[in-house]
Amino acid sequence: MLKHPMLEYIKEEGPSGMRFPHILCPGCGAGQVLNYTLHAVDDLIKEGGAKKENFVFISGVGCSSRLTSHYLKFDSGWTLHGRSLPFATGALLANPDLKIIIFTGDGDAAAIGGNHFIHAFRRNMDVTILCVNNGLYGMTGGQVAPTTLPFANTPTTPYGNIEDPFDLCKLAEAAGASYISRWITAQPMQIIKAVKKGIANKGASFIEVLSQCPVHEHETPVESMNALKEITVPVKKAEGSGKIPVGELHYRPRPSWTERYESVIEKANEALS
């Protein structure tokens, strides 16, 4: 039987038993994001620029964070809700050579993890963040999120959502992320390229992937993905369209925290001479 090429990087089972089938619902976009990310990592390893053992995957809690739970044949940490960035920060302080990829969701990143989100960008921590944004809390039953569109009915907004959503890419830019792009799950090649660029960027790279959640949207996966296509437009044609721009939105490299900390180590040692 022909096997999926990315299974090379997946633990279908471990010494204590099966890990597959995975926990994600049929039609979920998180699996697509994992597939694209692994393709990007595979390219980087096979092109010879990166060592497999230096990749570390870190996540918080939620549907997309499950990608990091126990499926990956990489070092990984499945951490606290919203706190993947401080955990990644610690790993980088201990070993700045690690290439850290973070899977997060919109609730994980922008609600409970909002404070860590902005500060990691301000510091330009050398991480690549893939935010699978489905506009709701999938794992707990589809409740409203900081990214849910106004007026939406969810289990905790039975009379409609009265709040306006965050634009996560604008938030990341204002906070200082050095690479930012936004895509929808139906753009595999663009996302693979973006992840490679994000990993190559020595600093905080934020990649938002608008994703379908057919279960809570009460649609088929195809209907959900078509809806994503409807509400988005390539960034070059975005002006005046009233739609959400997708594509590369920001790229301004600057030294990362660990690069800048070298000057602290130098000064501390110079003072001793």
Binding site: K11, E13, G14, P15, S16, G17, M18, R19, F20, K52, E53, N54, V56, I58, S69, H70, L72, K73, F74, D75, S76, G77, W78, T79, L80, R83, L85, P86, F87, A88, T89, G90, A91, L92, L93, A94, N95, P96, D97, L98, N115, H116, H119, W257, T258, Y261, V264, I265, K267, A268, N269, L272, S273
Partner: protein
Amino acid sequence: MLETALKEKKYRGEFIKPGRHYLEGSEACVEGALLAGLKVYAGYPITPASEIMEHASRRLPQFGGRFIQMEDEISAASTLVGASWAGAKAMTATSSPGFSLMQEVISFSIMTETPLVIVDVQRPGPGQGYITTSQEDVMQARYGHHGEGPLIALSPCSVQDMFELTIEAFNLSEKWRSPVLLMTEETVAHMREQLVVPELDTIEIVGRKKPQEMGITPENYLPYGHEIVPPMANFGEGYNINHVSLVHCEDGGVGNYSLKAHRENIERLHRKIEGNVNEIARVESHFLEDCEHVLICYGSVARTGLEAVKEVREVHGIKMGFIRLVTLWPFPEEKLRNLISTVKTVFVPEMNLGMMKHPITEALRDKCEQVVAMPEIAALHSPEKLVEQILEGTAC
């Protein structure tokens, strides 16, 4: 990487020299941590713990280690876990309100069996409370986090202790793959007194057990298996370690998610710490040979407590014994019971309304007539007051 660079003498940082020093408790703590191998410090400022952080920010980069001031205490503690997974010895220091915020990470690090050290320079609560001294977090240390999670908590009483017990905290955390709490107090952290540093090569430094040293290959590696304290691979070593805090099997997989797997997990975590309490926990004692009463205390209260015990013995002829809990958790119940045959009154002075009095009472339930709490809030007991209370309590 850091280790190699240190060996190449790229960094000029020098450890505190053997001999006598006059230091603040906070500085002694950082100097001890550096000797223990501290490589990452993450913190958030709070009175009265900020001195530890400031000293670490100055000293750590001299050794090529990294210091970061995080956005809050939750992220500071989270940073330690990530650093520990990547192989660094990591610590933070905070004070009581910040310690409350760290409880989430403490629970997480118990379940993921992550070595790290958290110093709590206790101040009075609840709320923002006050900024003097306190022992009001000793129950929070053990029971503040969610879940059945045993851990190790030490209670220093001097600047010498701030140095020695910080080293011991790192050693215990690495040996038992556990978070270790140094439950100090404003009084001890801000105290200045003599510190005697021994010859550095006499100081024992413990590192975590590695699968490589045990001949375990990445294919056969069980991050939560092999032994009661599982060997720990670091990030970047090719062991494909999956750190998980959900109920997990020995291999870190959550596929066979079951009540049985969860119970086995919790049972081992308990056996690891509580089952080794006699190896982990320490108590100190004086004047127990002839004692009719005993005073049991910990932290800076042990200083005034010992003065008071000496005075009632010498001046008033009361046969009073003295016990100091060096380790608060796991609670040294058996050691305590073995030290005492029977006594009339057990006095427990604490800078709270009587917290450790509860496990002490439980441990000595059939060995004494009464247990008397001697509470003090937000300040040290004076020896005079302790003597007065002991005289009252032993009069009947």
